[in-house]
């Protein structure tokens, strides 16, 4: 099976600071891939590089087509949804308006309405609060909103940047449970960036380990989880 997304020798820069030093990886269609590593390893930058949000060099292909040189708006229109660090909800708009914006580029009105029902099914909390300003939601609800908004695009690949960040363990359980359901029911491939390696490896089927802007290890989630030395030196648990 050919990869949904392939990144080959990707470099990224913030101004003159060289942050990614030739990262390569592949994401299988319908799978969950985890991107692990310590603070500052380049996980967030890798996601931003895929979406053209940083100065990037290298070959990035989605569905075999190069997307490396395009603008963010055009890359997401190919079917890549990004749930950014800090969630990126439109805090002054209502929950429902946030969700409608997720479907902004879609022309199939009827299916959009169906999808709105579907995400409200995944996140009943959002339905209860659909007329509320997004900024008034709790952290967990905002994370749900960010994921729901990304789903409204009907993406084929979902990039998730630390969905567990700042949330209580119980809320993280809920969110990871829903991610697994979404992956199974809708065959959306996911690239999951997480500090919480144990949780990420639980739902992922493949993992890459980043250190100072380079891939230092990769393999199936099971293999990485069971390797004592990797766990101790890189994942810290």
């Amino acid at each position: 099976m050919s990869a949904l997304l392939e990144a080959f020798d990707v470099h990224a820069y913030y101004g003159s600071t060289h942050v990614l030093h030739g990262v390569s990886f592949a994401i299988a269609p319908g799978g969950i891939t985890a991107l692990l590593g310590a603070n500052g390893a380049g996980k967030t930058t890798t996601l931003r590089a895929l979406c053209g949000m940083v100065d990037t060099r290298g070959d990035i292909r989605f569905d075999g087509r190069p997307i490396g040189r395009r603008g963010t708006e055009d890359i997401v229109r190919c079917g890549i949804a990004h749930v950014p660090e800090g969630r990126g909800t439109f805090s002054g708009l209502t929950v429902e308006e946030n969700l409608r914006l997720g479907a902004y580029t879609r022309k199939d009105k009827a299916r959009v309405a169906e999808d709105l029902e579907r995400v409200f099914g995944y996140f009943p909390r959002l339905y209860e609060r659909r007329r509320q300003q997004a900024g008034t939601l709790s952290g967990g609800e905002q994370q749900m909103l960010a994921i729901a908004r990304a789903l409204m695009m009907r993406p084929r690949l979902l990039l998730l940047d630390e969905p567990s960040f700042g949330l209580a363990p119980l809320v993280v359980d809920v969110i990871f449970g829903i991610l697994r359901t979404i992956n199974r029911e809708q065959q959306v491939a996911m690239l999951l960036v997480e500090q919480n390696a144990a949780r990420a490896l639980d739902i992922a089927d493949h993992a890459y380990l980043l250190e100072t802007g380079r891939v230092v290890m990769s393999g199936t989630a099971g293999a990485i989880r069971s390797d004592e030395s990797i766990r101790r030196s890189y994942l810290g648990y």
């Binding site: 979406c51 949000m53 603008g71 963010t72 708006e73 997401v76 229109r77 949804a81 990004h82 950014p84 990126g88 909800t89 439109f90 805090s91 002054g92 708009l93 308006e97 409608r100 914006l101 997720g102 902004y104 580029t105 300003q133 900024g135 008034t136 939601l137 709790s138 952290g139 905002q142 908004r149 695009m153």
Partner: protein
């Protein structure tokens, strides 16, 4: 009592002018999160274009709608050529300086092309007084046009996908790109709309204050006061604020400070609102939980 009522009504009709300018200011704020100091001069310049079109023989409504179209394009062109280089910088001061530059250039350009002599600008509404002489036909027409414009703006922002996308782009450009909104196009569109609304305001104001390059200067200050009083992000609030400032200015002028100090009332309103309730009477305070 009758004199008092007369003052209130006069206030309401000048308030209509401020309301339409305040509406244009709020429009551009909602679309770009900038307060456009050149808004008044853009409106003035548009009004001159309308005057010129009529001088070339176009009928009033032909000139009216053609001017709106030209002003829309003009707004887009100003954004693309002058504002865009500053889009990526977060330097508020640079943008404000650019606005003031546009203000001065348009002001001088209008004076250079059409000279500084006062010109009469026609009104499309009947000249006679209505309601027993309390208001003129034009004042009533101005009120109607302002309210119609407000309704259009409201429906556009509230109910159309494009309006929603413009609000999103102003609030969070990065997230907007992530849902596929072409943010830079939205900014240009916001400027176009503000240009068009400003053009309507200018053409409605000109029959009252007469057409000359400085006609919008004090009106813009009153418009700002109205927009701030009502809430800079709320079109309804801006229009209400505009009327309130008109009435307040007139009553204060007649009974308290005298006509010479009227403009001070507007400035006092601006300072007062910023001190006591920065989001304005009807403005939404954006709540953020962290």
């Amino acid at each position: 009592m009758e004199a008092f009522l007369q003052q209130v009504l006069t206030g309401l009709s000048t308030g209509g002018i401020y309301a339409s300018v305040a509406l244009a200011v709020v429009m551009i704020y909602k679309a770009t999160h900038h307060v456009n100091f050149a808004q008044g001069e853009m409106a003035m310049f548009s009004t001159y274009i309308a005057w010129q079109l009529m001088a070339w023989g176009l009928p009033y409504w032909g000139a009216f709608f053609l001017t709106i179209a030209i002003s829309f394009v003009g707004g887009v062109v100003i954004e693309r050529t002058i504002i865009r280089p500053f889009e990526r910088q977060d330097a508020v001061l640079a943008v404000v300086t650019v606005f003031i530059g546009i203000l001065l250039v348009l002001n001088s350009l209008a004076g250079w092309i059409w000279e500084y002599t006062i010109k009469v600008f026609p009104s499309p509404f009947p000249a006679g007084a209505v309601f027993g002489g309390l208001v003129s036909g034009h004042q009533l027409g101005l009120l109607g046009v302002t309210l119609a414009m407000l309704l259009l703006v409201y429906v556009f922002f509230r109910y159309t996908p494009l309006g929603l996308a413009m609000r999103a782009a102003a609030e969070n450009p990065e997230s907007s790109r992530l849902v596929g909104i072409r943010v830079s196009r939205m900014l240009a569109l916001g400027w176009g709309l503000a240009g068009a609304i400003g053009a309507v305001a200018g053409m409605m104001v000109a029959p009252i204050v007469f057409l000359e390059p400085n006609m919008m200067l004090s009106i813009l200050i009153y418009g700002f006061a109205g927009a701030l009083l009502g809430g800079i992000d709320n079109p309804w609030g801006a229009v209400t604020g505009g009327f309130a400032v008109g009435v307040l200015e007139n009553l204060m002028g007649a009974y308290v400070v005298g006509t010479d100090l009227k403009l001070t009332v507007a400035l006092a309103v601006i300072v007062g609102v910023l001190l006591i309730k920065p989001s304005g009477l009807f403005g939404r305070t954006v709540v953020k939980r962290v």
